[in-house]
Amino acid sequence: MSVEIVSAGPMLTVQDAGRIGLRHMGVSDAGPVDAAAMALANALCGNASGMAALEFAGPAGSFTTSRPVRFAVAGGDCDIRIDDRIVQAGESHRLKPGELLRIGLAREVVWAYLAFSGGIATAPVLGSRATHLRSGLGGVDGRCLRGGDILPLGADQPDVPCLRPASPLQGASLPRGQGPIRVVLGPQQDYFDAGTLARLTGEEFLVTPQRDRMAMVLGDACLPAARGHDIVSDGTVPGSIQVPGSGQPLVLLVESQTTGGYPKIATVISADLPRLAQLPVGSRIRFAAVSRDEGERIGIARARALRDALAALVAKPEGILRSDYLLSCDLVGGIVFPEEVVWAEAVMRKGRKA
């Protein structure tokens, strides 16, 4: 009952809901950069939202399993093959022992998720399986996965169908919202003068290559702090926008340190942080300020929408490709994979026999 990492991309880690509630002991959350995308991958496999799955940036790698499983990729569309058969992200599929699952990089996003039915069952550390690379906690020895790693899987229920959304999703993800990235000003906006605060919401910022699970540095705009760039360290959260002496804002993500000594001009609201973190390098963004209460309303509405969407997943008609579903799919450029049709026919025959 395990999955073997045959080969691993550069940034493949075990994540679960993270270590929430331990920041007072200096322990960062870890967990997925895009929690909604991981929740979708899990739900497609019939897993609870908080179960451990794999997060990847860049190509994921290749995998085999020691027992039949269902798996799903979510967060972004990507090239997924079971042996030579191409399958789609955003819905679950069956993988049998002996088959090789290969997953390329997710398109138009940075972070994507691969879940297996039963969930990854590596040993929890401080109550969580999430990998925190910086302090070497969780997952497999607190590090990125590599070829040869074997991950135990949790118990799976047999005879559970593969799932998909009732209507196909754009980019194998639930909508992440549009428009400017919304922030709540503070806690240290009083370190910045009115002109600088106006630039925070008036200018465009560039997504730079300086990014990882800990933070992303934004470029092309400078936010000098009138009262200086040093504060007596206080608590941070994912979404805190720190401004060090360079004036280049630094948005903290799930793996950030728990305290920091730079003034924080604003905090990205939780509903918009994954959208920001998923933007490819070179993207340009704007910020818009909302009140804390408005930020809370947006967050609550997003959490409800996610729960509703996950509860509305439907069983895939395995073995029978319904024409109404095919017609609703966006078959980019009209490409049809002959292997897929052959496979579908084979499955259909098998299904009729059963």
Binding site: V232, S233, D234
Partner: protein
Amino acid sequence: MPAARTGPRRTSPEQEEMMQPKILPCGDTALSLQFGETIDAKANARVIATAARLEGMAVPGLVDIVPTYRSLLLRYDPEIVSGARLETILAGLAPDDCASEAPSRLWVVPCLYGGEVGQDLDELARMKGMPPDEIVALHSAAEYRIYMIGFAPGFAYLGGLPEILHTPRLPRPRQNIPAGAIGIGGQQGNINSVAGPSGWRFIGWTPLRSFDPSRTEPFLFRAGDRIRFRPIDAAEAQVLAGRVAAGEAILQPEAMA
């Protein structure tokens, strides 16, 4: 907690903030209660007393209470408790709740001064114009207080470093400082909990592991604890390190009223 201000008594802005902390939003899932803007033992005592009070109240939806030098970060789940509701709860705390010092614990931490890990002891002695023994005597005579746990799991920031030992950090951080290293950074002391890069100056090492995720109690210290250092020699350090490696708890804190 906001103290009703009565009478004509004048207070400085700092004192006012201490009595009536500022509430600063940190996005839609956290707020910060700021008791001051500088490193100050009184402000920190209020931070920790308020944290203890809130922990005791077990407010539903309050998911983390993070004391730092001079403010308290409250992380919450807005689906269960709103920031506005939390503000009301905070306003309902009596000023005394946050003024009284919570009972704290004293740890007498064995410390091997100098040596491989305490590599900066001699340099520090030269900078201060005193023999290394005197640095050790000064450092081990003081009583410290853990102002906060932050930066890394279990990493303890200490207040109470004698002023003569205040020393700027190194211009270039060193790459690999081991867990247990005891150092000085500016006006603060520390006890390293995990190995990693650091620009602090290190004068000693303790065989204690202040963070070990495999233990039932992974964290030794918490904010508000008091610390004293007991000089030990290399032989004792080796024995203690062996006992720690075998999973033994070599130190119990003393409870203080």
